[in-house]
């Protein structure tokens, strides 16, 4: 693919709002997981909840979009100078030339969950205040962000489970390659809701303790929430020093099972191979991989096989889900941004709760932070339905 410049980005997770708060947490090893007291949920688990979502107010003309998911998006849009950067891009390109390709898995379903509790006992009707199109509807996030940023290019939501905010980078690359857009806002948001907390609990995939990716005693995921955005633009032939490029994208399907990964990580490996091919790189060109690494027994083992099969056992890898929890549909963008922060600062993040590495796993998994120059980083995101996506970022050549 033609490399794209990743000119601006913003991030919100349980580690805090903004790149500085995120980096501070990674430097100091401060994780965001806490015992779950979300809403009326009574599950014995830890979650990565974002502070301050309740206090977010959407602008008066967009209050119909008010829901937890769009509030998370609003928080992220106004961190790290992102909305201002998009405004100046809008001046340069025109509102109709900037696309909006965002991911979410559950959108504003929490609003529907609350509305179903408040149904009219006589008629069964939902409360009049419930607005389906602007909250629960999967497309609501892209519609909100497009309105909020004043953009008029093509806009849609990709909802391919937990790979979704990684996959949107590929959607944007295609749209820019065809000339339908000159730039794109990618990323998205996924917010805590009862559907995913009780749903993952039903699959017996939720850990009672903060999750421990690649640990011999790992016992499942800790769920989290988050939002993040990136502005992608055509690469400048003479890029400024310090410019980061999206170098490659790779997508695949497991074709195996709806909620269990392929045992040998075939789909995962295929996504990584395709990302390398799209970037024109070899396996040894990758300096760090931010893993999907959710801390499920099978998932980590499958990814380990894919990593060691393709990259060997020398490339440093880690999952940052011990910090943020598994932010589901937001994991792709949260971890893409953490990977780019690693590239920019040379801080290669460790893995807070991982104490005893599973001896059956052969990757060079980092428990503690390391530092060093990175030239190219890869980030993996996999989801239900066997959906896999891998991205590669690096310095502009």
């Amino acid at each position: 693919m033609q490399p794209l410049a990743l000119s601006h980005m913003s991030i919100v997770s349980s580690l805090g709002a903004g790149q500085d708060a995120t980096l501070d947490a990674l430097h100091t090893g401060r994780g965001g997981l806490k015992p779950c007291s979300f809403e009326t949920v009574t599950l014995d688990t830890h979650i990565g909840e974002v502070d301050g979502v309740e206090d977010v107010r959407l602008p008066d003309n967009l209050t119909s979009f008010d829901c937890r998911n769009n509030r998370l998006a609003e928080m992220a849009l106004h961190r790290d100078g992102f909305a201002d950067a998009v405004a100046s891009a809008r001046e340069r390109y025109g509102a109709g030339r900037i696309g909006v390709f965002l991911g979410t898995s559950t959108s504003g379903i929490l609003s529907a969950e609350l509305a179903f509790r408040a149904r009219d006992p006589r008629t069964g009707a939902l409360p009049a205040a419930f607005n389906f199109a602007t909250t629960h509807s999967t497309g609501s996030l892209a519609d909100f962000v497009r309105h909020r940023l004043g953009l008029e290019g093509p806009a849609f939501v990709v909802s391919s489970a937990c790979a979704t905010t990684s996959k949107v980078f590929a959607n944007a690359a295609r749209m820019i390659a065809t000339g339908l857009c000159d730039a794109a806002v990618v990323g998205g948001a996924d917010s805590l809701c009862l559907t995913t907390l009780y749903g993952f609990h039903s699959l017996e995939l939720v850990s009672p303790t903060p999750c421990r990716p690649f640990d011999a005693e790992r016992s499942g995921v800790s769920l989290g929430e988050g939002a993040g955005f990136a502005l992608l633009e055509r690469a400048d032939p003479n890029p400024a020093p310090g410019t980061v490029h999206l170098l490659g994208t790779g997508e695949s399907n497991d074709a195996h099972h709806m909620s269990t990964p392929h045992p040998e990580g075939l789909g995962a490996r295929l996504a990584m191979e395709r990302a390398l091919a799209s970037a024109g790189l070899r396996p040894e060109d990758i300096d760090y991989v931010n893993l999907h690494g959710t801390a499920t027994t099978y998932g980590d083992a499958a990814e380990d096989q894919a990593i060691t099969g393709l990259l060997g056992a020398r490339t440093p890898v880690s999952s940052t889900k011990g910090y943020t929890g598994h932010t589901l549909g937001a994991a792709g963008i949260i971890e893409a941004i953490i990977s780019v922060l690693a590239l920019r600062t040379g801080l290669i993040p460790g893995s807070p709760q991982t104490r005893n590495l599973d001896p059956a796993l052969r990757s060079r998994y980092l428990q503690a932070n390391e530092t060093g120059r990175l030239d190219r980083v890869m980030t993996n995101s996999f989801g239900f339905g066997g959906s896999n996506s891998s991205l590669i970022f690096g310095w502009a050549a």
């Binding site: 109709g96 898995s105 379903i109 529907a112 969950e113 179903f116 509790r117 149904r119 069964g124 939902l126 419930f130 607005n131 389906f132 199109a133 509807s137 999967t138 497309g139 609501s140 892209a142 519609d143 497009r146 008029e152 093509p154 806009a155 849609f156 939501v157 990709v158 909802s159 391919s160 489970a161 590929a170 959607n171 690359a173 295609r174 749209m175 390659a177 065809t178 339908l180 009862l194 559907t195 009780y198 749903g199 993952f200 609990h201 039903s202 699959l203 997508e251 695949s252 399907n253 497991d254 074709a255 195996h256 099972h257 709806m258 909620s259 789909g267 239900f384 339905g385 066997g386 959906s387």
Partner: protein
């Protein structure tokens, strides 16, 4: 963006398949609405067949029809799934369960609730490991899926199965989000013309406000505005006429806030 149509799938009220519906779409036969019949795909392994929900049945039926017509092994074809919603019945049942004290969601129901469930079942059934996108854009879901599929054809040179579907919600969601009938359609799009090509599409974005294409038949027009995926009907009607030897047509689909998707539909030789 140019894409060649190699196969078409269709299933909707009174539209029981592409071949059976061509004369209705050209206006040569009267349109009579009757509910679409959904069955689990024989392509699926028994466990997944049992677990199939309506969106999976609908998406797989139209996808399989289009791929069969194209004469391609589905394992080699990338896919774009598009719908305004995840499976409506599944979402309704989960929301009802979460409103009870027990909140005891079934694990199968939970994995069926993801928007990309049809894509997951499809890849299991067809052994397809090619890239697959599942997208959503409320009433513009079909138009957005068409743009994405055309971009994959044009930018990546892939052969793409575009699979679009929308079904009604049970009450009470049906009141706040009314959707007419179960309607699905699929197109197999390729970058180069082949011997099996049915038509050629030139797809572009327009910033204009020209009139959106409509259906002449009152019943089909009601379906077009009532089901997001049925926004595809004017394109399908143009394909039916061009495939029957008609002259090239121009189809205009709405893409708010300020755009249109403009499609020139022509015979495949040009």
């Amino acid at each position: 963006m140019r894409a060649y149509v190699e196969g078409i799938g269709l299933l909707g009220p009174g539209l029981p398949g592409w071949e059976q519906s061509r004369a209705i779409l050209t206006g040569d036969c009267a349109y009579v609405a009757s509910p679409a019949v959904l069955t689990a795909s024989p392509l699926l392994p028994p466990a997944e067949r049992r677990r199939s929900v309506p969106t999976v049945k609908l998406a797989m039926a139209v996808g399989a029809e289009a791929l069969e017509q194209a004469g391609r092994d589905a394992a080699t074809v990338a896919t774009v799934f598009t719908s305004s919603s995840g499976d409506p019945d599944t979402l309704h049942q989960i929301l009802e369960t979460l409103a009870t004290q027990e909140r005891d969601i079934s694990p199968t129901r939970f994995h069926n609730s993801v928007h990309n469930a049809p894509a997951g079942y499809w890849s299991i059934a067809t052994r397809c490991r090619e890239p697959s996108t599942s997208l959503s854009a409320h009433d513009e879901s079909f138009q957005s899926g068409l743009l994405e599929a055309a971009a994959e054809v044009a930018a990546d040179g892939w052969t793409v199965g575009l699979i679009a579907y929308d079904l009604p919600y049970p009450e009470p969601l049906g009141k706040v989000r009314p959707i007419t009938g179960a309607f699905g359609t699929a197109l197999v799009l390729t970058p180069q013309p082949t011997g099996r090509c049915l038509a050629c599409l030139d797809i572009d974005l327009s910033r204009g406000d020209e009139p959106v294409s409509r259906m002449a038949d009152i019943g089909l027009e009601a379906l077009r505005v009532g089901n997001p995926t049925a926004r595809a009907l004017p394109l399908l009607a143009a394909l039916a006429r061009v495939c029957a030897g008609g002259s090239p047509e121009r189809v205009v689909l709405d893409l708010p806030p300020s755009g249109r998707v403009v499609i020139r539909v022509d015979a495949p030789c040009c």
